[in-house]
Amino acid sequence: MATDHATTGETDVDAERGYFGVTISSRVKWNLIRAVTVAVYVMMILPLVVIVINSFNPSRLGNFPPQTLSIRWYEALLADELMLRALLNSLQVGVAAAFGAGLIGTLTAMGFVRNDFRMQDALVIVLLSPLLIPPIIVGVAATIFFGQAGIPRSLGWLVVMHTLLGLPYAFLIIRSQLYLFDETLEEAARTLGADRLTTFREVTFPIISPSIITSMVIVFVISFGEFTATQFWVKRTTTTVPVVIFSMLRTSISPKIDALATVMLVVTILVPLIVLGIRRWVLKT
């Protein structure tokens, strides 16, 4: 009993010695951690909240907080052809890039996981390079390349480049699920009479599809928000939301930007929620 007490006492002293000689009880310590976490999130979210609120502020000068609320900037947005076009472009490119990266990511991941070939590690680095090279360099390099090749700017060009930018994410996510995939399931399907394609459709794809969907959502979000490289690749008719926001900021500070930013925010948050919600619903039934 006595020894027991002594041991416990010692541990308590250890715990209370704290950091830099400052004694902090564990309750205070946790409260501190909590406070810092909350502060970080508040600092991240507060500016966004200000933008969202301001987008409903009828005043052009944006005095905060707004006295009344209105949707006049959204109406202005709807009337602004350039902005609508940018939104449409962004959505189209995002969806197309998501499908492109999802498809190519699945194929390359299958190729890398299921085969052994020389230079595999080196090729992985090449595949991940869009992730490793600073976007500004990718932007300039692709512009020069397409320029030299005489290919004019178009939405197709954007789709190709955004697919490329998203591919590393898709590849990594799908590959990690493929590593976990039990290949005897495919063997079982084959002994039961399924050829390669049927086996993929019936067994492999349904089982790895969560990772494909996840990667597509991520690629969409990346494409939708990509600015650094994209600014070099657009012309007036193929411009995207981030590029429009940036160019508007240089010339004016219309609250329309707040409205557009709010729309962008909503899309960025809602699309993953909806897609993942549908995924969960499909998995359940």
């Binding site: 039990d182 005897t184 399931l185 063997e187 079982a188 399907a189 084959r190 002994t191 039961l192 009479g193 399924a194 050829d195 049927t198 086996t199 019936e202 067994v203 349904p206 089982i207």
Partner: protein, 363 residues
């Protein structure tokens, strides 16, 4: 013409020879077990038969047709995997119906057949469950149902019971045998469990290191092992070295120390050959000094291993300088048990002494 024939099957993985020239003929409707130590090539043989592995050389014939190069999905062969490999995203119904669906069977037929199969494996009403909602034993039976549902020419099972606990293993083992009797489907069953190997099959193939050591009905394999490996692998026995002689029409082995045992020789032994004798522990009988004088070894109890039902005695036989193991069923009502240091005699019937050519590389 046999139903399934393996003709000099060989499979190499790089430098490693996994299957080294195995030939085997299996008749229609037979239940054949293949037993052997880990890594001896059992799975590789099964995988070659299903087409999941392509042999390096040799031929596989089913009903006389060479299927060696046929892709797995074109063969009509069911395989039960060691870890079952049930499709986790499909229901039990979809799992069991998969082979039928692949063959374009209409929905109604699928439903009927799946019901029949689930009934056979005592899992009525499991159609809508998912594999993860089933216990290990249930999953095992679903895997069996799936491999049989599409009416295959042949069903192969690769250690299907090894993931189950002991009691379940025994009950499902007899269930598998019943299912095979009911369906009459030709079955090849791989195990490294001796009990399963001896009790399940009509025929038993013993493999070692890529070779087929012996292929016969289980009783013959157990009673008359043809190779030292088989004699050693099945059951428990003591190996004793000696010299083989034919004496007045009788087969005997001289063990040194003036001891001779009458033996059951394998065909290839000639007079004067070095021989290995295998004395099965359950065939050795402790006898009083008065009983038989032939085929008796005299020794001293070195240790006793009491196991309730059985007692194992380890008896040192000074004349041959070896310890033999004797196992017998303990008769608690009449028997007085021997203790350490007792002098005893051990008798073995000549036909129970397996006598094979000695392998001089292993003295």
């Amino acid at each position: 013409m046999a139903f399934l024939e393996l003709d000099n099957l060989r499979k190499e993985f790089g430098d490693l020879v996994a299957v080294d020239g195995v030939s085997l003929s299996i008749e229609e409707g037979q239940f054949v077990t293949i037993v052997g130590p880990s890594g001896c090539g059992k799975s590789t043989i099964l995988r070659s038969i299903t087409g999941l592995e392509t042999p390096s050389s040799g031929e596989i014939r089913l009903e006389g047709t060479d299927i060696t190069e046929l892709p797995a999905y074109r063969r009509n062969i069911g395989l039960v995997f060691q870890d079952y490999a049930l499709f986790p995203h499909k229901t039990v119904f979809e799992n069991v119906a998969f082979g039928l669906k692949m063959r374009g069977a209409p929905k109604a037929e699928q439903r009927e057949r799946v019901e029949e199969m689930l009934e056979m494996v005592n899992l009525e009403g499991y159609q809508e469950k998912y594999p993860e909602e089933c216990s290990g034993g249930e999953q095992q039976r679903i895997a069996v149902a799936r491999a049989i549902a599409f009416d295959p020419d042949l069903v192969l099972m690769d250690e299907p019971l090894s993931n189950l606990d002991k009691n379940l293993r025994t009950s499902i083992r007899s269930e598998l045998r019943r299912i095979q009797d009911e369906t009459g489907v030709t079955t090849v069953y791989v195990t490294h469990n001796q009990n399963e190997a001896l009790s399940l099959g009509d025929k038993l193939a013993v493999m070692n290191d890529g070779h087929l050591e012996q292929f016969d009905d289980p009783e013959t394999v157990y009673r008359n092992p043809q190779t030292r490996f088989v004699a050693d692998f099945l059951g428990r026995s003591t190996e004793v070295r000696g010299t083989y002689h034919r004496q007045n029409g009788e087969a005997v082995a001289e063990l040194g120390g003036g001891i001779e045992l009458q033996v059951q020789p394998s065909g290839s032994l000639a007079d004067g050959d070095p021989a290995s004798l295998f004395l099965r522990d359950e065939k050795l009988k402790l006898v009083d000094g008065s009983a038989p004088t032939e085929n008796v070894l005299e020794g001293i109890i070195e240790s006793v291993d009491y196991r309730g039902r059985d007692i194992n005695y380890f008896i040192e036989v000074p004349k041959i300088g070896q310890t033999v193991q004797v196992s017998h069923i303990a008769d608690h009502s009449t028997e007085t048990f021997h203790t350490l240091g007792d002098a005893v005699s051990v008798y073995i019937e000549p036909e129970n002494v397996t006598c094979l050519p000695a392998d001089d590389s292993q003295p």
